[in-house]
C-alpha cells in the first residue's frame, strides 16, 4: 500500500471511530435481524453488484498495467495469478465486510471472509468482460446473496459457499488472464482539427489521453447533471431550499462531482507519468497548471451548468459563487496532481483531491462577499503553488 494513501486512510479510520460512537450499532443489528431475510439478501446482492461494477475499471488497469507485461509471458498459471491478485482485490471488499458485521450472525468475521471471497470471484469474472466471466460474476453475486440469507436458517451454507468460491477463483482469474493474450480492436475517438497554440496542444493532449485510455472517466462527468438538476429543482419547488440554502445545496452537488475531476487527474498521472509535464517542452509551469485546470473545468461544466440552471432564480451572486467553487475544485485538483507528480501511486491524487474539494465546499458557504474573495484566492493560490511544484519537479536528477 502506498504511503501516499495513508493520510486518507487515517482520516477514514478517524471518521469510522467517530461514526462508531454516533451510530447505535446494537439497535441497528436488532432491527436488521427483525427484517425480511429475502429482502435483506437482495439488498446485499445489489450492493455487492454495484461495488463489483465500479471495480471493473480499476481491476483491469491493475491487471493490464504495462509494468506487468514482462510477467505475462512467464510460465505462471492462472491459479498462481489468483494467489497474487485475489488478496489485493479482496481489500476493496472492506465496505462489504463492514456491512456483514451488522448481520445477525455470531461469527461475523467468518461471514465477512465468505462475502469478500465471493465478491472477489465476481469482480474478477466481470472484469474479464467475457460472457463466461459475466456468468461467473452473476452466479457469485447470487451466492453472496444466498450466504447473506443463510444466516437466518442455514448457518452451514456459508462455509460451503466459501469453499466453492475458492475453487472457482482460479477459473475467474484465468478468464481475465486469457484476455491478455488476445489482440483486441481499440476504439479510436479523435478530436477535430489540429492544435493552434501551445496551450491548446496541451489541453488536447490531456483530453485525448482520457478519451483513448479511460473514456469512462469522461462519460462519468455526464451522469451527475441529470439527477443534480432534478433534485435541486424538486427541493426548490418544495420550498426546502431557498436563498443561502440553495448555495449550500449547489455546493454539495458540485462536491459530488469532484471525484470525477480527481479520478481524471489520477488517470492522467498514471498514463502519462513523467510526460505529464515534460521539462523539455517549451511551456511555462503556470500555463501548464492552467491547461490542466481548463480540463478539470470541462469535466465539471455539465454539473455546474445543471446546478446554475437549477439555482438561477436565486440571483447572479449565487451563480458566481458556484462558478468560482467549480474553478476552485478544479484548481485544487491540479494542486494535488502537481504535488504528487512523480509519485508512482496515482490513487493518492484522487484521495487528496476529495478532501480538498470538501474544504472548498465549506468555504463556499461563507457569507456572500467573503466566499467569493476566499474562493478566488484559493484558485489563484492553488494554481501558483501547483506551478511552483511543477517547476521544482522539472529537471530533477533521477
Amino acid at each position: 500500500m502506498s504511503l501516499g494513501l495513508l493520510p486518507g486512510w487515517t482520516l477514514l479510520a478517524f471518521i469510522g471511530v467517530q461514526v462508531k460512537d454516533v451510530v447505535p450499532w446494537p439497535e441497528l443489528r436488532q432491527s436488521l435481524s427483525a427484517g425480511d431475510p429475502v429482502q435483506m439478501a437482495l439488498w446485499v446482492s445489489a450492493l455487492a453488484l454495484t461495488m463489483a461494477l465500479l471495480c471493473i475499471l480499476p481491476v483491469r488497469s491493475a491487471v493490464y498495467a504495462p509494468g506487468l507485461r514482462g510477467l505475462w509471458r512467464q510460465p505462471i498459471a492462472a491459479p498462481q495469478w489468483g494467489l497474487v491478485f485475489a488478496p489485493w482485490v479482496m481489500l476493496a471488499a472492506l465496505p462489504l465486510a463492514a456491512v456483514s458485521g451488522l448481520w445477525p450472525h455470531p461469527h461475523w468475521v467468518s461471514q465477512a471472509i465468505v462475502w469478500s471471497a465471493l465478491w472477489t470471484v465476481a469482480v474478477m469474472g466481470l472484469a474479464s468482460l467475457t460472457l463466461h466471466g459475466f456468468a461467473i460474476g452473476l452466479v457469485a453475486i447470487g451466492a453472496l446473496g444466498l450466504a447473506a440469507f443463510s444466516m437466518w436458517s442455514m448457518p452451514l451454507l456459508a462455509p460451503a459457499l466459501a469453499v466453492a468460491a475458492l475453487a472457482v477463483l482460479p477459473v475467474s482469474v484465468g478468464l481475465i488472464w486469457e484476455r491478455t493474450r488476445r489482440p483486441t480492436r481499440r476504439w479510436r475517438p479523435s478530436l477535430p482539427g489540429r492544435p493552434f497554440a501551445a496551450f491548446d496542444a496541451m489541453v488536447r493532449r490531456d483530453l485525448l489521453c482520457l478519451l483513448r485510455s479511460s473514456p469512462g472517466v469522461l462519460f462519468a462527468s455526464l451522469i451527475p447533471p441529470i439527477p443534480a438538476f432534478i433534485a435541486l429543482v424538486a427541493l426548490r419547488n418544495e420550498g426546502v431550499i431557498a436563498g443561502p440554502a440553495s448555495v449550500g445545496a449547489g455546493l454539495i452537488v458540485l462536491g459530488f462531482t469532484s471525484p470525477v475531476v480527481g479520478s481524471a487527474f489520477a488517470t492522467l498521472s498514471d498514463r502519462l507519468g513523467p510526460m505529464l509535464d515534460p521539462p523539455r517542452w517549451p511551456m511555462e509551469p503556470f500555463a501548464r497548471a492552467l491547461a490542466l485546470t481548463v480540463l478539470g473545468e470541462m469535466l465539471m461544466l455539465p454539473t455546474a451548468l445543471a446546478v446554475l440552471a437549477a439555482v438561477f432564480p436565486e440571483g447572479m451572486s449565487v451563480g458566481l459563487r458556484l462558478v468560482l467553487a467549480s474553478s476552485a475544485i478544479s484548481a485544487v485538483g491540479v494542486w494535488c496532481l502537481a504535488q504528487n507528480h512523480g509519485n508512482p501511486e496515482p490513487g493518492a491524487v484522487a484521495s487528496w483531491h476529495l478532501l480538498a474539494a470538501l474544504l472548498v465546499c465549506v468555504i463556499g458557504t461563507l457569507p456572500w462577499p467573503w466566499s467569493v474573495v476566499v474562493l478566488a484566492a484559493v484558485v489563484f493560490g492553488a494554481l501558483s503553488d501547483a506551478a511552483n511544484a511543477l517547476e521544482r519537479s522539472r529537471g530533477r536528477v533521477i
Binding site: 492544435p195 496542444a201 530533477r396 536528477v397
Partner: protein, 208 residues
Amino acid sequence: MNEGLMVAGLVVRYPNFRVGPVTLSLGVGIHHLRGDNGCGKTTLLRALCGDLRAQEGTVRIGGFDPYNQPAGRVHMGFAPSAPDLPGFWTVDEAWQSLAALRGRPDWDGQTARRSLGLPGHLRLDEASAGQRHRAELLAALAGDPYVLLLDEPMAHLDGRGLNLLTTWFGQWRTNRIVLVTTHAELPVKADSVLELRAGEPLMHTGWL
C-alpha cells in the same frame, strides 16, 4: 538565430556516477558525440535539453537558458533513444502538437512524414520499434527547431531510413546545430567529433 549552443562547466552528478565537467561551444554543423556504453552521452543530451537539471554549470541554446526560460526551448528538438512520446497519440497528432508547442502550429510535416514512410493515423503504441523511432525523429523536427539533439538516431532504422537521414544531415549541415550521439560511425563526415569518457572532463570550443 545566430547564437550557438554554449555549455560551461556542466556537471550532472549521480550518487555513484558523474558526467562532466563539460564545456562546449558549438555552431552550425553536424557534431558527433561518441563514447562507450554508459559513459553519459544520453545524460548529457538530457541535461542540454532541460530534462535533467545539472548541479553545476550553465547551458545557453540560442542565448536562452533551457532550465529557467521555457520559451527558449522552442528552438530545440530532442529525439531520445528510448521513445517517450505518449503512445495514445497518432503520428500526425504527435508532430502537430509539438509544432504548436514550439510556436509553429502551421508547420507542415506531411512531406517529412511521407519521406519517413509513416502513416499519419498510426498510433505510436501500435507502431513497430523502427516506426516509433522515426515518429520521435519527426516530432523532434516539428516546428523547424534550430538546434537538434539526436540520441542514437540510427538505431532501428532500415536502409531507406538511413539514406534519408544521410540526406537530411547534408541539408542540416548548413543551417542547424545538430548534436548526434552514437557509439558507431556517422553515415556522413561530422564537422566535429566529441569523445566523452566516463567521469572525465569534455571540452570543445571549436566554434565561437
